[in-house]
């Protein structure tokens, strides 16, 4: 499981948690999220996310 972070506003998407509010099940891989999905906080496109180091 990886985490992805919006480079604009810092929002974090955690694959383990998903986003049940948005119909994204826990465990959903980043690659499985539709390309037109955008950052729920600032609206930046999926391209503006980067994989985070997970410690």
């Amino acid at each position: 499981m990886k985490k992805w972070q919006c480079i604009v506003c810092g929002f974090e998407y955690d694959e383990a948690e998903g986003m049940p509010d948005e119909g994204i099940e826990p465990g959903t891989k980043w690659e499985a999220i539709p390309d037109d999905w955008t950052c729920p906080d600032c609206g930046a496109p999926k391209d503006d996310f980067e994989m985070m180091e997970v410690d």
Partner: protein, 393 residues
Amino acid sequence: MNTMTMAEARAHDRKRWLWPMGFGIIMIVAALALTGWITGQTWLIFAGPIVVYGVVPVLDLLIGKDSTNPPERVLDILEDDPFYRYSTYIYVVVQLILFVAVCAIVGTQDLTFWQWLGFVSTIGMLSGVSINTAHELGHKNTAVESWLAKIALAPVAYGHFYTEHNRGHHKNVATPHDPASARMGEPFWRFLVRTAGGSARSALDIEKRRMARKNRSFWSVHNEVLQSWGMTIVLWGALMFAFGIELLPFLVLQAIIGASLLEAVNYAEHYGLLRKKLESGRYERCQPEHSWNNDHIVTNIMLFHLQRHSDHHAHPTRRYQSLRHFDEAPQLPTGYAGMIVLAYFPPLWYRVMDKRVVAHYDGDLRRANLQPEKRERLLAKYPPPHAPADASA
């Protein structure tokens, strides 16, 4: 298929050869101010406010709009065209040279009060416009551009903007939680106090949490707010060391003027606009309808397409040359330069803008971002559909 060359793509940008005027305008302003000082025409030293408040709004009205969008495949190519980013790099260098040169004049020459006031207002205007250039640079994820953004914010002592704008404003825009989103009925001067204090607090809070997450102290050299403020201390310190401590009031006042100019632009960008709160407690995503836009050419050149603000919020890392006009985004009657003059006179501002907010929400101000203590009065003045004024209280 994708055989378009850079040269063909460039031909699509109608404003291509105007973009270097971004730094051209500040050079002209500085040249006018220096001419005014040398020739004894003191009024000309006030070139900064004359150009920003007078010449640019008039030119916007005379020259008009450009609402064209190049095709998507052209935008992809233009995005990578270095020509555009060089204009922003050159801007930062020019601004810094002008700033130091005027500090040298103010610190070492015998100026009359009016000459001093002219220089402080002109440099204040240039500092304010340079916050916008720092804004363009601060959204880009390259080391060069991040550092140029911080350098551009050093003279005006507004380095926290770099942090707050990206991680605070872009997240909270058009909600009551954003210090930089103006509420309908909120006079500009109150907004100025709220946004200046709120943005600095928000920036410090963001960096405090980021440092804690990385197990670093708040006082770490990695704290970007402290880095930026440190650059201001070094720059201002060096200038006062070179040209005398008497420079301090000049430095402080130009920074206040510059920051207020930027905040007046902020005031216009999202006035009264509100994202809906969802059942989950989050706000709906930021949409084109949550920013005021404008396509007047002169202000768009001076501000690197900042007024195509809806697309900026949809694609914050997109470079200025590829920002698009949206028909569905709310439009201001004139450019940001003209709108800030209106903002200084709240009754005039309300007269021009309030009816536009009402129309934008189809008459239902319950969907707008209202100044809390004016809520009742605004809803009584503009009753929502199907709710008579006396029944809504």
